[in-house]
């Protein structure tokens, strides 16, 4: 346990330094606020286009896509951040051999590195939501009683995201750096099939089936229910209670954690066997 904690602590420190230390502190804070606000304007533009094409305004639909997209910030940031640890340590900093041969858990190291991504993303999500509520009329009415459930759902959703990121990390042990497209393409799939922009009910049956197989769908649905209970958008999960969805999220978190361990260890073994742990691909 001591090894895990030590690894986690140092990796989290390193991750934070890498994410925040690239400029002056004041500029980092300004950037952290301006970036999500700029992202919010993109959502406004998207909604405006939808409204013009559909010839009608639907504030509930805007709130639906706004809340979904706010939380999708976690997906891009955590997935790409987790996947990128191996690639950047290997190709850019060329430190991977020294980190890997240290007496640490490399799995925990990646989790630790990703923690700062979660912190930065959480700040961006909060800024986006606050800006949406106060300046764009986004409907957010979370009750105090819903807070524990919301926190549990967020923790499980982030755990699933980390697990998926580490699965990609396991694959990236064996791949060249140009495959970072994988970490950009997979969030794209989640964006379409997990009810981020539009409810699952607008998808064909096979699309609904794909969406329901991805645990993030449950996370987005539950988060939206708790934050904006008055939206009344049919998402195909209306038949499930909040607790049932949380249970589904818990089961999938555990399953994905196991899967991530398996894929990571397999990728690590084959990389060590093939001599790819510290390869540089020079693409």
């Amino acid at each position: 346990m001591n090894t895990f904690w030590r690894t986690f602590k140092v990796a989290a420190w390193l991750g934070w330094e890498m994410d925040s230390n690239w400029t002056e502190p004041w500029l980092f804070i300004v950037y952290s606020v301006v970036k999500p606000v700029a992202g919010a304007f993109i959502l406004v533009l998207m909604y405006t286009v939808f409204a013009i094409i559909g010839s009608r305004q639907d504030p509930a639909a805007f709130s639906y896509m706004y809340v979904g997209n706010s939380f999708f910030i976690f997906v891009g940031s955590v997935l790409f951040g987790t996947f990128q640890v191996i690639q950047s340590d290997r190709e850019w900093y060329q430190t991977i051999r020294y980190v890997y041969m240290a007496p640490i858990s490399y799995y925990v190291y990646i989790v630790g590195r990703a923690v700062s991504k979660i912190g930065v993303a959480a700040f961006a999500v909060a800024i986006t939501l606050v800006f949406g509520v106060y300046f764009l009329g986004v409907q957010v009415h979370m009750t105090l009683a819903a807070v524990p459930l919301f926190l549990a759902a967020t923790a499980l959703g982030l755990a699933v995201l980390l697990a998926i990121g580490i699965c990609l990390g396991g694959v990236s042990f064996l791949t060249a750096k140009h495959t970072h497209g994988l970490a950009e393409g997979i969030p794209g799939i989640f964006y379409v099939f997990c009810g981020v922009l539009f409810p699952l009910s607008v998808l064909p049956d096979w699309g609904v089936a794909v969406g329901r197989a991805i645990p993030l769908t449950y996370w987005f649905d539950l988060t939206r229910r708790l934050l904006s209970p008055t939206l009344g958008v049919e998402t195909t999960l209306s038949g499930y209670s909040d607790l049932a969805i949380l249970a589904l999220l818990l089961v999938s978190s555990v399953a994905f954690f196991g899967l991530s361990l398996l894929i990571f260890k397999t990728g690590e073994y084959f990389a060590r066997k093939a001599g790819k742990i510290d390869m540089t691909t020079s693409y």
């Binding site: 090894t3 890498m18 060329q94 051999r97 020294y98 240290a102 007496p103 060590r272 742990i277």
Partner: protein, 335 residues
């Protein structure tokens, strides 16, 4: 007897490149079959020993170190570090080793030199206060004190290399792997590193270093024992003195002559055991080293050179070096 490092019939074969179905292979790519980097290597390194692995580029030195540092699995055979099998039990090995590779510029550019080294020490569980004390001391020793708070991206290649040396020592490992540690360093920095490593092994007690190098003088000066490796095979393993004694009955001559292309006649010459040939194109000179059974063939060598219209600029009889040992064994120099 237990060894700090032991390998038994260790081999490592790298798979060749596969043919790409949708891409025309590059000129020499089709011929890239499997590469045998290590071929039945068996060595024993005692605790407290400064052991050298000497060989030309591509001889298998780095592959061996990667296997011992648990970065790479062997294809066959076994390797033990601190009594643990590298393939089956890497974690206890990692607690006791560290590694520094020369000529590379690794490091997190956004961290300072001090932060970089401190961070790695934390991975090894070195108490932060102890670590900071050691870092300051090592920064002074390696001449990096003035750059301690500079971001790594601002450091020169040599300064980064010094920082990595400090990273290697800050965890106070029992076994340290140094892969070409002075590669690309200036003379002074290389000397400081050599002296520090020798002193560390002599004074700390029980510390073991495996040093790879293709600098003969460096290995000769530093190592208690040296293994000579070429094409993945250990050709000889002994103290530097004993290795040189192996060819002491032979005579070594070094010649500097006008650039010479055709050297085939030397190989067939009676009394020439082996020779190597290096060119300095900028000076239009060739440097020939002959390992002779006795001084008999010298006159014939000189006459062969002058008959080609080439001038002999210098002729020197010298004591055998480790490179001469290598030339004597494989019939070519390191470069």
């Amino acid at each position: 007897m237990s060894y700090a490092v032991e390998t038994r019939d260790l081999s490592r074969v790298f798979a060749g490149k596969k043919k790409r179905r949708f891409r025309r292979p590059k000129e020499n790519e089709e011929h890239l079959g499997p590469v045998t980097a290590l071929d039945g290597v068996s060595i024993q390194i005692r605790e407290g020993e400064l052991f050298g692995m000497l060989g030309p580029n591509g001889a298998g030195k780095t592959t061996l170190i990667k296997i011992l540092a648990t970065l790479l699995l062997p294809t066959s055979g076994q390797a033990f570090v601190a009594g643990h099998d590298v393939a089956k039990d890497p974690f206890p090995i990692r607690q006791r080793i560290n590694m520094v590779s020369g000529g590379e510029t690794s490091g997190y550019g956004l961290l300072t030199a001090r932060e970089n080294v401190w961070m790695f020490s934390q991975f090894y569980g070195v108490p932060s206060k102890v670590s900071k004390g050691r870092i300051d001391e090592l920064m002074h020793t390696f001449g990096l004190w003035d750059k301690r708070d500079a971001k790594v991206r601002m450091l020169s290649t040599g300064q980064r290399q010094k920082m990595n040396m400090i990273r290697g020592f800050v965890t106070d490992p029992d076994i340290l792997f140094l892969d070409e540690p002075t590669l690309g360093l200036d003379v002074n920095a290389a000397r400081v590193i050599r002296e520090y490593v020798m002193n560390w092994v002599r004074t700390q007690g029980g510390k073991t270093v495996l040093l790879t190098s293709h600098y003969m003088a460096e290995a000769d000066q530093m190592c208690d024992r040296i293994a000579i490796i070429d094409n993945g095979k250990i050709l000889a393993c002994d103290t530097p003195e004993n290795l040189k004694r192996m060819i002491r009955t032979e005579t070594t001559f070094r010649l500097e002559v006008d650039s010479i292309r055709d050297t085939t006649s030397f190989t067939a010459m009676a009394g020439v055991k082996n020779f190597s040939h290096k060119d300095d194109i900028s000076k239009n000179r060739s440097f020939l080293t002959f390992i002779l059974e006795d001084e008999g063939p010298v006159a014939e060598i000189l006459s062969t050179i002058t008959s080609q219209g080439k001038k002999v600029h210098s002729l020197q009889k010298s004591e055998p070096t480790l490179e001469d040992v290598f030339i004597s064994m494989v019939g070519r120099g390191f470069e």
